[in-house]
């Protein structure tokens, strides 16, 4: 049996996440000799990043031909921190009573700095010059000295950290930059979804992903090239899943990501499922008609998604720094084969995940629940509480599931520093809601 190996060193054509100045800027990029990163008003080649291990740190340097990236090898930086900490006790008596903000503290002008840059001064040299020419630097406490240094370093000697795009880093980056594109799905909520739905190797996971492909990608990552993630959509057009292409999925994993139209999956049309038949009236008749009119051409649809799928945010992504050119590797999201669909109908899916801010939870769940194996877990993410509460109530009344729970995740980050530990001043106050439960067996005539 062949198992997926995760590569720890970048290669040409590899997708990477660039973390500039400790998370101040996050950029997804695909590495090639020609690809560049914009820093300030100048472009900087990403070629030096090819063949480096993930986790490598680079600094932006001024060269004859413009900016270039130079790899930093560790240890110097960490020693600096130690020294700073040692100085703390000495200047407890210092404070800011003598610092007056009159804009004259810095004697170095913009022209001076530009001149230094033209003469080939490194970023670090400029930072040192700024410190020497600051009239107030010596009066600052060591904390504010460190803050000053960091601020100038970020501006004149930016650092670029090479990150492996994983569900974690992709979710964090999108949540920070374009939260609306992932339905405001915070990292802790995404991790709960995967856990609550028992996502693991050799599972067949049914997913309704209207969060740009983040959920599909996160599930595929956990399947590691086994089982299947079936990305289901209602209507004629598959939901966009561009984010799933940022993960560096090998062909083995891509093959395990398939798409399927709900009409092909749901027993509604051939009338084998009483549950769905009962609630057929509740279905959105408009959607149904659309589904009947157009067949599902998920394979050929692939290229058109970015261009004309009608979701403006994703189109915008093409121009944004997060955009990636389609890779040459095997395409994730081919249409599910009839064999697979029949197998799923017969055996049922191992679990169900829904992150569809635009769909009503109960309407979609009552269509999909019959496709699950008995005792299979499911988890539904939504930004609003009411649709989940209503959905949970229906499930309780109709006794379709047990272990029902609506959870709201809460996540707080801490600043941990000697004698200065406290929760971070800013936090995300809302991570959405998740309804989770386990499908019960509603089938009584099992003895037949």
């Amino acid at each position: 049996m062949h198992f997926v190996k995760w590569r720890r060193v970048t290669w040409e054509g590899c997708s990477v996440l660039l973390d500039i100045n400790d998370g101040d800027r996050l950029v997804f990029a695909r590495l090639s000799p020609a690809s560049t990163l914009k820093i300030g008003k100048k472009n900087c080649s990403l070629k030096p990043l090819i063949g480096c291990p993930f986790g490598s740190l680079f600094k932006v340097e001024n060269g004859k031909d413009g900016l270039f990236l130079l790899r930093i090898f560790h240890t110097e930086e960490s020693n600096n921190i130690e020294e700073e900490e040692d100085g703390i006790s000495e200047d407890v008596s210092k404070d800011n009573r003598e610092i007056v903000d009159n804009n004259t503290a810095q004697r170095l002008t913009d022209q001076d700095i530009h001149a230094m840059q033209r003469q080939g001064a490194t970023g670090d040299e400029i930072v040192e010059a700024l410190i020497t020419h600051s009239a107030t630097f010596e009066k600052k406490t060591s904390f504010s000295q460190a803050k000053y240094r960091l601020r100038k370093q970020k501006k004149y000697a930016p650092k670029v950290l090479l990150r492996r795009p994983f569900a974690r880093s992709i979710c964090e980056a999108y949540f920070k930059k374009y939260p609306s594109r992932i339905g405001f799905l915070r990292l802790d909520a995404l991790s709960l979804l995967l856990t609550m739905a028992n996502v693991t190797a050799y599972s067949d996971i049914l997913v309704v992903d209207m969060v740009g492909g983040l959920l599909t990608g996160a599930v595929a990552e956990r399947l590691g090239g086994t089982g299947y993630v079936c990305n289901a959509y209602s209507g004629a057009t598959p939901y966009p899943m561009d984010i799933a292409r940022i993960f560096n999925f090998s062909n083995e994993i891509c093959e395990r990501i398939v798409r399927c139209c709900l009409t092909d999956l749901c027993p509604v049309l051939n009338g084998t499922c009483e549950l769905v038949n009962q609630s057929k009236d509740a279905c959105n008749s408009k959607t149904e008609q659309k589904e009947k009119l157009s067949s599902c051409e998920s394979v050929s649809m692939e290229q058109d998604i970015v261009a004309e799928d009608g979701v403006p945010e994703v189109i915008a992504e093409k121009a944004a720094p997060l955009a990636l050119k389609p890779s040459k590797s095997a395409k994730a999201g081919e249409g599910a084969s009839d064999n697979l669909i029949n197998l799923w109908k017969e055996r049922g899916f191992s679990s169900l995940l829904i992150a569809a801010p635009e769909l009503d939870a109960w309407s979609i769940l009552q269509k999909l629940l019959p496709l699950l194996s008995y005792s299979a877990p499911f988890a539904i993410y939504h930004q609003y509480l009411q649709p989940l509460a209503t959905c949970m109530h229906h499930l309780q009344i109709e006794k379709l599931a047990v272990g029902l729970q609506i959870s709201e995740p809460w996540l707080r980050e801490y600043q941990v520093l000697p004698s200065r530990t406290h929760p971070c001043m800013q936090m995300s106050a809302f991570g959405g809601y998740i309804l989770s439960g386990t499908r019960t067996c509603t089938y009584d005539a099992h003895s037949h």
Partner: protein
């Protein structure tokens, strides 16, 4: 517990067999793990349940006792297991577990070191995440606890993915044979800073360490130690708030004082055909309402993550 073997995995056809592990679900806060045994019985406040009645039924079935009490029989998952396992130590729960696995970037094929094993709540989820080709090496200095954990992993059929070792990691560090082999290391120790230097040596470059500590002083000390060989040091606290859902009736009163919310059950007064119209006007309508549960876990522990420096 894991679907590696297709004949064991849950499906619409899979029936409960003799020897299966099932989770007996009474209520959301009352569950129990039972190994099905042809001649066995389960006795609880709902009556006597014969295992032989369960065999041949699908997982997820409702089964009845001699006095018509009922329970559900669920297929085990790491989440259900966390709710039923015997607490030999304080355990990690859902919110922390899921965040740890995500943040440590544990995917199929990873090698994970864990210390201590405790009751094996996190270990079970780690095993699920590294399956089918990875491995979890978990250590506890308590011999009996390690033995119980091994028994549990036999029962949940995770033994091929988990190795339980008896070792004082805090005192002696991780065994040298793991040098540079670990994708991630998880520490749940009273003095994690003592194990951090060794953990660093076990990690591959760019590998991730996570330390779980209930007290902020532990975090403080750990972070000091982490600074020398690790980057991206971040500390989080994760909690969950759960909600209660009820159906309530709004009484649309005739006056201007607005409607009242009344909880169900609400007995409808007997009505004759005559006042049907009147009833329409002030018709009660049911609404589903939700509110946070009054009590919740207020603190579990701080999660500190760090990346092994890439040289």
């Amino acid at each position: 517990m894991l679907p590696g073997d297709p004949s064991q995995a849950i499906s619409l056809q899979r029936r409960i067999r003799d020897g299966d592990l099932v989770i007996v679900y009474e209520r959301h806060d009352n569950m129990k793990a039972v190994k099905v045994n042809e001649g066995g019985v389960l006795q609880n406040r709902f009556g006597v349940f014969k295992h032989s009645d369960w065999i041949g039924k699908p997982f997820g079935s409702k089964v009845f006792s001699h006095k018509k009490g009922f329970i559900y029989l669920l297929a085990p998952t790491p989440e259900l297991w966390t709710l039923v396992l015997s607490h030999r130590t304080q355990i990690l729960y859902l919110a922390d577990i899921s965040f740890v696995i995500m943040y440590m970037e544990i995917v199929p094929g990873c090698v994970v070191l864990e210390c201590g094993t405790g009751s094996g709540s996190l270990t079970t989820s780690l095993a699920r995440a590294v399956a089918p080709s990875g491995h979890v090496y978990t250590f506890d200095f308590h011999e009996q606890r390690a033995a119980y954990a091994r028994e549990d992993f036999e029962l949940t059929q995770l033994s091929s993915l988990v190795t339980v070792g008896v070792a004082d990691i805090q005192g002696d560090g991780f065994p040298a044979k793991f040098l540079g082999t670990a994708d991630s290391v998880f520490l749940d120790l009273p003095q994690p800073w003592l194990a951090i230097p060794s953990a660093g040596k076990m990690l591959k470059p760019d590998g991730i360490l996570c330390s779980f500590s209930p007290c902020i002083e532990q975090v403080q000390h750990s972070c000091e130690t982490l600074k020398s060989k690790f980057t991206d040091i971040r500390t989080f606290e994760v909690l969950l708030r759960t909600y209660e859902v009820k159906e309530a009736r709004t009484e649309a009163s005739c006056g201007d004082d607005g409607g009242f919310l009344r909880p169900l059950p609400c007995k409808r007064r007997p009505q004759s055909a005559g006042d049907h119209d009147a009833d329409e006007v002030s018709s009660d309508s049911a609404v589903v309402v939700a509110k946070p549960a009054a009590e919740a876990r207020g603190h579990t522990g701080y999660l500190t993550f760090a990346r092994h420096q890439c040289l």
